[in-house]
């Protein structure tokens, strides 16, 4: 599978999660990502994915905890009446605890699940294709920037491995391996290891010729190229921002993204010809890749008209049942790559 296909699929799901504010939609998106990972990720990919899943649960828990602690001024059904503590803070007062309202909790839950879903989608892409493989697909002209991103992403699986090793070391030293203090120690040691690894990787890549200066026959990029590329990137960034902001019409965002992508593609193709880098067995983009992309786009076409800031999917359509039907179709479409793509090679 082409790595970009999985990343495009996951990012589209993540964009949908950002725009929607209903729990069923978010849960359907997260479930679709999990199903695809379960069926199509290599074993070590699945192991990394569980780290992202746990992270998602922690995010939801923190979001709920914050709401319980600093209950914002909601009204409505009272779930529990917690003891209240008021701290004077200059002119204002900080209220801790107090009445816990159902709408506040629901809104916090949705917020938490939304962030968790985004994390899970990125985790799914990470599990389905190792970030190092993305490196090989970055357009030649964007190579340097691509590597920076990838080194950042390699952090996650390396960190998971380091966490395992440090955990083992803690046990060998007879230190407690459970509890917050132990987790803190493990995390610090693992981050240290991951940092060393990143620096080592940079050195190794330089030693193998990464970032070589173009020779005289292949001049450095033209200024016009740089300007056009910047314009394309700004269009892409604005479009991406539009996708996340429910007040911007989806058509504007999509237009910006499409325009930016075409311009970027043209510039990269032009600039890429000046590069002297070549590809060993480039990943082909064939039918399964189109299918994955198609599945994600179908899901977004189904969902985009019905998700929005006002929430309930049922109120946007004439009949509640239609809303559920649309959601079911979209969820299924997002999860379809689990069966439509070839299985990962078993040999490894």
């Amino acid at each position: 599978m082409h790595p970009l296909a999985w990343w495009a699929w996951a990012l589209i799901l993540a964009a949908l999660a950002i725009r929607s504010s209903t729990l069923p939609v978010l849960l359907a998106l997260a479930a679709a990502a999990a199903i695809v990972v379960h069926h199509r990720a290599p074993p070590q990919g699945r192991a990394t994915f569980t780290v992202f899943l746990r992270l998602g649960v922690v995010i939801v828990a923190i979001r709920l905890g914050l709401t319980i602690a600093f209950a914002p001024g909601f009204t409505g059904q009272v779930l529990a009446d917690l003891p209240m503590l008021t701290l004077p803070l200059g002119d204002a007062a900080l209220r801790i605890g107090g009445d816990l309202h159902l709408p506040a909790m629901l809104s916090a839950l949705t917020d938490g699940v939304r962030i968790a879903t985004i994390v899970v989608c990125v985790g799914a892409a990470n599990a389905l294709c190792e970030p190092t493989r993305l490196l090989r697909t970055a357009p030649a002209a964007l190579y340097e920037a691509g590597v920076a991103v990838i080194v950042g992403l390699t952090f996650a699986p390396a960190l998971a491995g380091d966490l395992g090793r440090v955990h083992a070391a803690q046990r060998l030293r007879g230190r407690p391996t459970r509890g917050i203090a132990a987790f803190g120690r493990t995390l610090v040691a693992a981050l240290d290891g991951a940092m060393d690894r990143a620096i080592g990787l940079a050195g190794a890549m330089a030693a193998r010729g990464y970032g070589r200066r173009p020779s005289a026959a292949h001049p450095a990029p033209h200024r016009a190229q740089t300007a056009a590329l910047l314009t394309a990137l700004i269009a892409l960034a604005l479009g991406a921002y539009g996708m996340t902001d429910v007040h911007v019409p989806a058509s504007v965002s999509i237009g910006l993204i499409a325009g930016g992508a075409v311009l970027a593609g043209a510039v990269l193709g032009w600039a890429g010809r000046a590069q002297q880098r070549t590809r060993y067995r480039a990943d082909p983009w064939r039918a399964p890749e189109w299918l994955v992309l198609g599945c994600a786009l179908t899901a977004s076409l189904l969902l985009l008209p019905v998700v929005g800031p006002t929430g309930d999917i049922a109120t946007r359509l004439p009949w509640p049942i239609a809303g559920w039907l649309v959601l079911a179709c979209a969820g299924l479409s997002a999860a379809l790559p689990a069966w439509l793509t070839p299985a990962p090679p078993v040999a490894s």
Binding site: V166, A204, A206, A207, Y280
Partner: protein, 535 residues
């Protein structure tokens, strides 16, 4: 062709230079061996040759390093990549991709070599290093030796004129090391590649070297023909020691050369027998009992039906090819990996159920990378943490560490210590728990001959304190020095189990140098021979 001219190099934040006023020339198409005690500046010299220092390390460079006319001052490593291939000590740190084939092609992709040429070269190099069967494997699934060969293959495919290798055979079993060295020799003979190897364990590699550079200290560097340079150093393999002690002229460098002189020595030794191994005397009961243990990772079987008992005071060396299950067995004995079949007990208890003080007072493991065990930012703090874990009075671990290797700066980061010092740190942490069973995974990696001699003395002392020691190692000389018993694993099964002297002397692959020289006499080490004849 590399010329180093009047080079002084200082790392950032260091008062004294790592190398001062050194000059040398490395001739084309030679195998040049870089030797020196740890901390002498050997690694720094290697880093200077491809511009890694100072471009990626920072620091201050005076003088010039030229590679085929290119000055590293104006050419950072990326612009020298078409001339120099680098194989670092731990290949895991240098892998950019996740698949073997992609890894081999990476450097060529950077140079814009056409895909058809890339495919041909990858196929050739994989063949040369016997990696063809693994070509579709994921790098994370390879064993240590396979990884080392992949790193060499990845450096070779782009067709460099010079290859720099940092301890290329230290993680390899004797067979795999021989294969790698033979492949390196072929590179110089057939392709005219200049090879520079930094190495501590010289037994095997000495026969392949054309010249030696000895880094005696940051200020003193000697280069020249092998025999000439080695005459002035004590960092030499057993066969050179034996030759010097016996007064053979010219001093032999390889087993083959030594055999020509050995007839007389063999005659004098014929009437005496090597001393029986010490340890395990009067010890009763088993400290470790492994009974028909099997371990599987997914569909691969790492261990099957392993049965082994270790008594207190015994030093058992666990040998076998890379990937034969040595590390898995060690993790099972220390309780990190619960066996899928069979039972395993340490002092009658299941180690996988032990935690905290109950675990560390019974069994301790020094992992392959001792740094994995060290978690604090300074040696001082490391020792303090260890005192708390082991419930010892403050200063206990520090005293243990000083008894292993005196003079470690307490404020230095474990990462900045030498390999030998790091090993001692990890060992001191383990010893703080006062375990009856000590496991060591590949303890001599990165140790020079002096550090190794100290380790041998430490291990003997620990065995004399009636501890059971199990060490997984590829180093036959270490096994010959300390092991009372030898267990050979192959594909997760016990292939041989017996007194170290018998197994070592009878195996063509695991025979130490002295045994090879004096075959068929059963002498294993220089010390044994010296003691027998001096007495």
């Amino acid at each position: 062709m590399i010329t180093v001219d009047e080079v002084t190099f200082t790392y950032p934040g260091c008062a004294s230079p790592a190398l001062a006023q050194v000059s040398l020339t490395i001739e084309p198409a030679d195998v040049t061996l870089l030797i020196g005690a740890t901390g002498s500046g050997k690694s720094t010299l290697l880093r200077l040759l491809n511009g890694h220092a100072p471009h990626l390390t920072g620091g201050h460079l005076v003088g010039s390093v030229r590679v085929h006319g290119r000055d590293t001052r104006t050419h950072p490593p990326r612009d020298l990549a078409d001339l120099i291939g680098v194989v670092p000590q731990d290949p895991r740190t240098c892998f950019v991709t996740d698949r073997l084939e992609d890894e081999c092609a990476y450097a060529m992709e950077q140079q814009g070599i056409p895909p058809a040429t890339m495919r041909r070269r990858v196929a050739e190099v994989l063949d040369l290093l016997s990696l063809t069967e693994l070509r579709h494997r994921r790098l994370s699934t390879l064993s240590g030796g396979q990884r080392q060969r992949v790193a060499i293959a990845a450096a070779l495919t782009s067709g460099p004129r010079i290859l720099l290798l940092d301890e290329p055979t230290s993680a390899l079993d004797p067979g795999a090391a021989e294969e790698v060295l033979a492949a390196i020799r072929r590179l110089t003979d057939d392709l005219g590649i200049t090879v520079v190897i930094a190495e501590h364990r010289l037994e095997r590699v000495l026969g392949y070297a054309d010249a030696v550079i000895a880094v005696d200290s940051p200020h003193r560097l000697r280069a020249g023909p092998t025999a000439h340079v080695l005459a002035d150093t004590d960092l030499v393999p057993p066969v050179v020691h034996l030759g010097r002690w016996a007064g053979w002229q010219p001093p032999p460098l390889t087993v083959r050369e030594a055999r020509r002189h050995a007839a007389g020595l063999a005659e004098r030794l014929a009437d005496s027998a090597p001393p029986a191994p010490t340890g395990a005397a009067g010890a009763s009961g088993e400290a470790v009992t492994v009974d028909r243990v099997g371990v599987r990772y997914g569909t691969t079987t790492a261990l099957r039906g392993v049965t082994l008992g270790i008594r207190p005071g015994e030093v058992v060396a666990l040998m076998g090819r890379n990937g034969s299950g040595k590390t898995t067995l060690l993790s099972a004995v220390v309780g990190l990996r619960r066996p899928d079949e069979g039972t395993l007990s340490v002092a009658g208890l299941d180690p996988a159920r032990l935690r905290g003080r109950a675990l560390i007072s019974r069994v301790g493991l020094v992992p392959q990378e001792p740094a994995d065990l060290l978690i604090a930012g300074t040696v001082e703090r490391e020792c303090a943490l260890s005192d708390v874990d082991a419930q010892r009075p403050p200063g206990h671990t520090r005293a243990l560490l000083d008894s292993l290797t005196p003079g470690i700066n307490p404020t230095s980061h474990p990462r900045d210590l030498s390999e030998g010092q790091r090993l001692c740190c990890a060992l001191a942490v383990i010893l703080a728990g006062d375990p009856a069973v000590i496991l060591l995974d590949e303890p001599t990696r990165g140790l020079d001959y002096r550090a190794k001699a100290r380790l041998v003395a430490i291990l003997r002392r620990l065995a004399a304190e009636n501890r059971a020691i199990l060490l997984a190692t590829h180093d036959v000389e270490l096994a010959a020095e300390v092991a009372t018993r030898l267990v050979i694993l192959a594909d997760g099964e016990v292939l041989a189990d017996g007194p170290a002297a018998d197994v070592l002397a009878s195996s063509p692959m695991f025979a130490p140098q002295v045994a090879k020289v004096l075959a068929p006499l059963p002498w294993l080490t220089v010390t044994q021979v010296q003691m027998a004849l001096d007495a």
